[in-house]
């Protein structure tokens, strides 16, 4: 990182503290005598969406935006967001990653195959892309220190080793921005981050990180969608329609003859709720699974 100017991108998920962390970095830059600009996007991104914060420092800063390929460090508070943010990283610059994984509900939507849309924790592949990867299990470190909420200060400690801000500036910035009761905890977490030695620490930290989020292969698979057999003479149709309401895939409807009918056969996952809840035993689910 240049001693005169730089750009940092922070990324994470709503609620992870991206905005507070970037305020601390900006404060440390200001206390180190730099001009600073910082830009973040609030609004809908607060609802569990992506939050990113751009920060630039130097003798005089114009645009607040870090451009693609120009971040002198990217700090990712979450694994998936690190992968998304790669285009911002200047080739060769450090990527600081918290190994926490927050699976968005949208990644669990391919129900027939059960394939998760969330990327696997593949550190080797990322090291090949990035070179200077500084991964850490910030939550684990902070928890071991007795203050899990101070995890972002671990990441700031790692970042501090790459920036030309004085130790005093960092500590004053922490002191001024974190809740009064947690100043000591955050200082400890910051020190713990500073003390990590890279590249060695990446592997050790990865070993500590919790097991795969929504990973694991299916023991059995289905060759074709399940099929429903509906005994129409037993079905009460519109007067009941319990199966229509409970089907998680919205596969069923009451047809023209006032009987339950399958309208989306391709979406049936064979869950059997309709068979289970039909008060007239009018539905049988046929499903064949083969062991992989």
């Amino acid at each position: 990182v240049s001693r005169e100017r730089g750009g940092i991108l922070l990324v994470g998920v709503g609620g992870q503290g991206v905005v507070l962390a970037s305020a601390i970095i900006a404060d440390a830059a200001l206390r180190s005598g730099f001009d600073v600009k910082q830009s973040e996007v609030h609004g809908m991104s607060q609802r569990g969406g992506v939050v990113s914060s751009h920060l630039r420092y130097g003798a005089s800063v114009g645009s607040p935006l870090v451009e693609p390929g120009e971040a002198d460090a990217v700090v990712a508070m979450e694994w998936n967001e690190a992968l998304r943010a790669l285009p911002y990283l200047r080739p060769g610059a450090p990527l600081i990653v918290n190994l926490q994984r927050i699976v968005p509900p949208g990644a669990c939507r391919d129900r027939l195959s059960g394939r998760s849309g969330y990327p696997a924790l593949a550190l080797e592949a990322l090291v090949r892309e990035v070179g200077d990867l500084r991964a850490c299990d910030a939550m684990g470190i902070a928890r071991d220190l007795g203050s899990p909420k101070a995890l972002n200060s671990v990441l700031l400690g790692i970042l501090a080793t790459t920036l030309p801000f004085s130790d005093g500036a960092w500590l004053q910035a922490l002191d001024a921005n974190v809740p009064r009761a947690s100043v000591v905890a955050n200082e400890q977490a910051f020190r713990a981050g500073q003390a990590l030695r890279y590249p060695e620490a990446t592997c050790a930290q990865a070993a500590n990180a919790s097991a795969a989020a929504s990973g694991g292969a299916a023991p059995t698979v289905r060759d074709a969608p399940a099929s429903l057999e509906i005994a129409e003479s037993w079905c009460k149709g519109r007067a009941c329609a319990i199966c229509v309401r409970v089907c998680p895939e919205y596969c069923l409807a009451i047809g023209g003859r006032d009987k339950a009918t399958v309208i989306r056969p391709e979406a049936c996952t064979g869950c059997g709720l309709c068979e289970l809840l039909c008060p007239d035993f009018a539905i049988v689910v046929h499903d064949t699974l083969v062991t992989r």
């Binding site: 809908m44 991104s45 609802r47 114009g62 943010a85 998760s116 869950c271």
Partner: protein, 613 residues
């Protein structure tokens, strides 16, 4: 002439007690400046990216010298501040860009009347639509109304221009539009606060020819307004808010707002005409600048606002041919435009490619009380006319239960039309939040009753303006300062309008919510269902006994996954080729809705919960 030295304005006033400069967002800077300008009345309606201006003003105004309110909507806010200015008190009105559509009725005519004391209207625009339904360029409103337009480029200018706006407003007896964008309002920069320059309150003097816009008076005032625009054009020609930075004469760039900083990054050697007071347009200044450079580009976000003025003045410029008319600009976008124009060599800097990552769109929070009504509406096959708020997210999978959303309060009116047109695949339901209902829904509900519509209306009352972070409104029982206030009784209001059936239901009771909606659809005439659970995030974080999944009972049916709750995801387990689920107890709020949809009873309260998260 480079006129960027602000050292003369630096001061050690109360606003900057210890440091040479403070890191402030553009919104904070506007609030600081408004306070420095001695604002007496401030009003607005929450809307990203404008919301923090009034909230910061409340924080700064510890002595309660300023009357500050969250208004019912932007038009009311502008009326309140216009009234204050008529009475000689400096006034600040804040809103997001689409809010000015609501306030436009007053705005257009306030440009005729003017006001006695300074009246500054802040419109925070959202190019790129980070959290908006459109990206209209409100600079056009300044031209439409004939009022001066200030375009700050950063926090320092947001501060300085706000002070200048009050003075301009008083010198020319006209409301002033200060237009920020997301990257100005929500970017932080170092601000050197100027010494406070409060105006002198003058009091109200009767002057019907100025303030009563009867046609006869208004005709005279329109001429006054036009003369004022001409006078302001002269002001713009000489204003220090507009400046020429002469460098390399081969390329000259006319720009304003945040685009100025992007231009400086993309082509530091270019000459620049930076416009801060951009309407009325300083045509002669621009003509001299254009004559001094070989090629003139206009680089501005969104509409060709400056470009149109330049062309109208007969000045040859290039602009939207190279720079997009939609979305945000950035140094990169500008560089590519200048490359296409042949004014910059084509660069090929190496950029890493993103690795495959999961999409992460915004979602409703764990425990959000908006989930079950929309789950029920989807099951009922309703055609849902929605509205502006968090619940607009119900349009996306897995709830997929909203069919239209346009602007604040339009759900009920659209539903009337959808129902009257007849040919819908299901019953028509309007869905609207509490704050939005008060803002713009009440007239449409009266319309539905008055004209005999057959309609179900769902009012999602979560007791706050949630989307913008939990602001008070007339039905919350609190003011912007947190003081107790009378609260509108929504069921009583609906009954007073003439709604035949009003049902209040607990949205954490899925069956009751479904039955209430089913009943409202079946009831002839206008029926209203009001949900009554508070937002789980604001003003109070609701965290009840969290739930967990008993893995051996989970049949992996995915019924709970249809809620879209961020606390519920696939774990590592499988059942008959399907993924079993897990609940993150650290984010679960204990709303119980997933347990209600779990047929095998696999979702149970966490054992040994202490009551602390």
């Amino acid at each position: 002439v480079i006129n960027s030295d602000r050292s003369a304005e630096r001061s050690t006033s109360e606003l900057a007690p210890s440091q040479p400069g403070r890191l402030l967002s553009g919104n904070d800077a506007i609030a600081y400046a408004a306070r420095g300008a001695g604002v007496r009345v401030a009003a607005g309606y929450p809307g990203t990216p404008s919301t923090e201006i009034l909230q910061t003003l409340v924080r700064l105004d510890t002595g309660r010298d300023v009357y500050i309110e969250w208004s019912t909507n932007e038009k009311v806010a502008l009326d309140v501040t216009l009234g204050a200015a008529m009475a000689g008190a400096r006034a600040l009105c804040t809103m997001k860009h689409v809010g000015l559509n609501v306030a436009a009725d007053t705005f257009m005519t306030a440009a005729y009347t003017g006001a006695r004391a300074g009246l500054v209207v802040v419109s925070a625009d959202d190019p790129g639509m980070h959290s908006s339904q459109n990206e209209q360029d409100n600079r056009l409103f300044a031209r439409f109304a004939g009022v001066p337009l200030l375009e700050p480029a950063d926090s320092q200018e947001a501060h300085d221009f706000t002070l200048a706006a009050f003075e301009l407003s008083e010198r020319f007896d006209v409301p002033v539009l200060v237009r920020t964008t997301t990257r100005v309002s929500h970017a932080r920069g170092v601000v050197h606060a100027a010494a406070p320059r409060p105006g002198a309150p003058s009091g109200f003097e009767r002057d019907p020819a100025k303030f009563v816009m009867l046609p006869g008076y208004a005709r005279a005032r329109h001429r006054v307004a036009l003369e004022r625009v001409a006078a302001l054009a002269g002001e713009a020609e000489a204003s220090p808010l507009n400046r020429v930075e002469m460098r390399d004469r081969r390329v000259g760039i006319v720009t304003s707002g945040i685009a100025y900083h992007y231009v400086r990054e993309a082509m530091p050697e270019a000459s620049v005409l930076k416009l801060g007071l951009s309407h009325p347009f300083p045509a002669e200044l621009a003509r001299r600048f254009a004559a001094d450079v070989e090629r003139v580009f206009v680089i501005e976000e969104l509409e060709p606002f400056l470009e149109t003025e330049l062309r109208a003045a007969g000045i040859a410029v290039e602009g939207k041919a190279y720079f997009p008319r939609h979305g945000e600009l950035s140094p990169d976008v500008i560089r590519r435009g200048l490359e296409r124009a042949g004014s910059l060599p084509v660069s090929g800097k190496p950029v890493l490619e993103a690795l495959p990552a999961a999409g992460r769109p915004p979602v409703l929070c764990p425990g959000c009380p908006h989930v079950t009504p929309f789950l029920a509406l989807r099951q009922l096959g309703a055609v849902v006319a929605g509205d502006i708020g968090c619940y607009t997210l119900a349009a996306t999978a897995p709830l997929s239960a909203m069919d239209a959303c346009i602007s604040m309060g339009s759900s009920i009116g659209m539903a009337i039309g959808l129902a009257r047109a007849g040919d819908t695949p299901g019953p028509v339901v309007a869905a609207i939040g509490d704050s939005t209902f008060l803002h713009g829904g009440i007239p449409a509900l009266a319309d539905a009753v008055y004209n005999g519509s057959d309609l179900a209306v769902l009012i999602l009352d979560n007791g706050t303006t949630a989307m913008t972070g939990g602001q008070a409104h007339p039905a919350t029982g609190t003011t912007i300062r947190g003081d107790a206030a009378p609260a509108v009784d929504l069921p009583a209001l609906c009954r007073a309008i003439g709604v035949s059936s009003v049902t209040v239901v607990d949205p954490y009771d899925l069956a009751a919510t479904r039955l209430a909606l089913q009943g409202a659809i079946a009831t002839p005439g206008v029926s209203v269902v009001i949900t009554n659970r508070p937002c789980v995030e604001a003003p109070i974080k609701v965290r009840d006994h969290p739930f967990a999944v008993v893995d051996e009972r989970c049949t992996a049916c995915q019924a709970c996954m249809n809620l879209g709750c961020p606390s519920i995801t696939w774990g590592g387990g499988w059942r008959d080729g399907r993924r079993t689920v897990v609940i993150d107890a650290s984010t679960c709020t204990g709303c119980t809705v997933c347990a209600q949809v779990c047929a095998p009873g696999a979702i149970v309260p966490v054992a040994g919960w202490s009551g602390k998260s």
